[in-house]
């Protein structure tokens, strides 16, 4: 098992560097002058612009910039006045040491901004995942039990619709019905305007109801079909036939032979779902004005706050890699065939 874990972690490293390269290439090839973006002052004189360029390392070739972005430049002397000799050490610590740079708009470290928003995203996304998996597994089992009856058919329809419905549209329709017409639920946001902070269960519940519904629908659609297929596959296995032949009851076969084996792939898929949380939450947070990371990123994109955008892409990718690794480890742990391969 240890060897398996080690190998998988090792395999994740080139992937990580690939992602940083993609993020960096996008960042340097984006149109617009970074100095102008930072200072908001196009009338700055050439001398101070050159000075700033040198101190930010923008006069360096892209490959050097990439290295500085990754590992920082506080170990090299920066030639600020352009006389050929370095005067002052750089100020960057680099991505690998947790420095994602400075947000242009907020003038704060990117990592700090992201960490501030992550709890809101996790709150929404994890609750949605729990609901999505809970209901999805339930429906999947139902569909398998009532295989080829109208129940199975109905669950298939729910699943197809759940996959095909555009979340932003569903969100909009629900907001119109429940917030505008009926006035029973808030239109968006995380808490009431009048509330004075602190945690209030009823308030949180009312704000989360619609986004969680929309967010989890997709998971329900996917998980229910996944579970149904897995169970039907397991039921066709020889050991299930043997179990029946031994005279075991339906109940025992289902619980001890079928369910246990069918749910292994489903359980391990949770890791992948956690990894893709950020992608899913981008649109949901936008529709429901949820103050999480997704909204932060979309706003950063519109503000051309490239360090913040790229920092988020990298953080999102790290979340994904960790999710996948977790998934693989869980699979290997639950299914000995995987780790022995």
């Amino acid at each position: 098992m240890g060897k398996f874990v080690f190998r998988r972690v090792l395999q994740a490293i080139p992937t990580f560097f690939g992602i940083t390269a993609i993020a960096f290439i996008i960042m340097v090839s984006a149109p617009g002058d970074p100095i102008a973006l930072i200072t908001f002052n196009p009338t700055r004189d050439a001398v101070s612009i050159a000075r700033m360029e040198r101190s930010l390392g923008l006069d360096q070739p892209p490959i050097i910039q990439y290295v500085y972005w990754l590992v920082g430049n506080d170990w090299v002397m920066i030639d600020v006045d352009g006389d050929g000799a370095g005067e002052t050490p750089g100020i960057r610590h680099g991505l690998l040491r947790g420095d994602l740079g400075q947000s242009i708009r907020f003038k704060q470290p990117v990592l700090k901004l992201i960490l501030e928003r992550i709890p809101a995203t996790l709150q929404l996304a994890l609750v949605s995942l729990v609901f999505g998996y809970g209901i999805g597994i339930g429906l999947g089992v139902l569909a398998a039990v009532f295989h080829k009856t109208w129940i199975d058919w109905l669950i298939r329809v729910i699943s197809v619709i759940g996959n095909a419905i555009p979340p932003f549209w569903l969100g909009l329709v629900l907001i119109i019905i429940f917030s505008v017409q009926l006035g029973v639920l808030p239109m968006g946001g995380m808490r009431d305007i009048a509330s004075r902070g602190g945690f209030n269960l009823a308030e949180t519940f009312r704000h989360m109801l619609l986004p969680v519904f929309v967010f989890s629908l997709n998971t329900v659609a996917f998980v229910s079909r996944f579970v149904r297929t897995e169970i039907l596959e397991v039921l066709a296995q020889d050991y299930v036939r043997t179990a029946y032949a031994k005279g075991l009851t339906n109940r025992t076969v289902w619980l001890h032979h079928a369910a246990k084996n069918a749910l292994i792939p489903v359980a391990t898929y949770v890791g992948v779902s956690v990894g893709t949380l950020l992608s899913g939450s981008v649109i949901i947070e936008q529709v429901f004005d949820w103050p999480g990371m997704g909204r932060l990123v979309v706003n950063a994109v519109f503000n051309r706050d490239y360090p913040l955008v790229m920092g988020s892409v990298v953080v999102g990718a790290i979340m994904f890699i960790i999710g996948i690794l977790f998934s693989d480890f869980l699979y290997a742990l639950l299914d000995p065939r995987i780790r022995l391969k």
Binding site: A164, I283, G316
Partner: protein, 304 residues
């Protein structure tokens, strides 16, 4: 010797015919899939052929604004589905919007299939360094939150539709390639491929006439599902304001406008969403149905 060859030819031919015949028969018998397929064909035809005719017939225009007539209710004054905030006829705009959405879905999914199948074939067939490189690329691209990457690229460069199609394809092929690679890995060890190789068939011949035909069914099935996904992605991007830009209508950016004006016209919210839902659902159902129809190994009941 010649009789043996003849017999072989015969069996080969009847088999080849019967798989596709079976598939067609199966497909027609599967009512839901057939209906979904017909809806898709009709939808495509309507979007590409109907607008000029309807514009003439109903005397409406997709781009001409007519503010006094804004927010006309559906069915009033020749506006079958009403008008939007600028008095433009919604039905015509939906059909023009469908052109864009469907064009993105069809062309981009074909490109995705092309890239995904080529790279998947190469990786699975040759293995070694080729495989490692392609797999690294696949892993890397699939680790970046794709929605986020689309948004970033679309917002920074604001590409026209043609470029958007290409970008969607360049970022979307990884799943297909992974699927094809896995399939090739198993197909290339089958007896008939080994036999062909033993007879001295070239790599090219093995790939084209022995491996590729056996990939056809998963290619068609994933193509259909990818097309559905692309409709959703394009609509999502346009909804966020980073996809296709107004005044070119798409189902996604029509919803962006309607978000602001839903009090005056709920019909502006309902119809674009319904169009997206129906189209995506049809693509998924067709993909599902094709999987059942084209897969001779999988008996119908064991498939989701």
């Amino acid at each position: 010797m010649s009789t043996v060859a003849n017999i072989n030819d015969d069996t080969k031919e009847t088999r080849a015919r019967s798989l596709w015949q079976d598939a067609v028969k199966h497909f027609v018998r599967d009512r839901l899939t057939l209906i979904a397929f017909i809806v898709l064909v009709l939808m495509t035809l309507a979007c590409y052929l109907a607008p000029p005719v309807l514009e003439d017939l109903l005397d409406v225009d997709a781009t001409r604004t007519n503010t006094p007539a804004s927010f006309t209710a559906p069915g009033v004054d020749r506006h079958v589905l009403g008008t939007d905030h600028l008095g433009r006829d919604q039905l015509i705009r939906l059909l023009y919007g469908g052109r864009v959405s469907l064009a993105v879905a069809y062309t981009s999914s074909i490109m995705i299939i092309f890239i995904g199948v080529s790279l998947g074939l190469l990786a699975g067939f040759y293995g070694g360094l080729v495989d490692d490189t392609i797999t690294w690329l696949v892993n890397t691209l699939s680790s970046v939150p794709s929605t986020l990457l689309y948004i970033v690229i679309a917002a920074i460069w604001q590409p026209p539709v043609e470029w958007m199609i290409i970008i969607l394809a360049l970022l979307g092929w990884v799943g297909t390639s992974r699927l094809v690679r896995a399939e090739v890995l198993s197909i290339k060890e089958r007896e008939y491929v080994l036999a062909a190789r033993a007879l001295g068939a070239s790599d090219f011949r093995l790939l084209v006439s022995h491996i590729f035909p056996n990939l056809m069914s998963i290619v068609i099935v994933t193509g259909s599902i990818i097309a559905g996904n692309l409709i959703l992605v394009e609509a999502g991007l346009s909804y966020l304001g980073v996809g296709v830009q107004p005044p070119t209508p798409t189902w996604g950016n029509m919803l962006t406008d309607s978000r602001t004006y839903f009090v005056q016209g709920v019909h502006l919210v309902i119809w674009p969403g319904i169009m997206i839902l129906i189209t995506v659902m049809c693509f998924y159902l067709v993909g599902d149905g094709l999987r059942d129809a084209l897969d001779p190994h999988q008996s119908r009941h064991s498939k989701a």
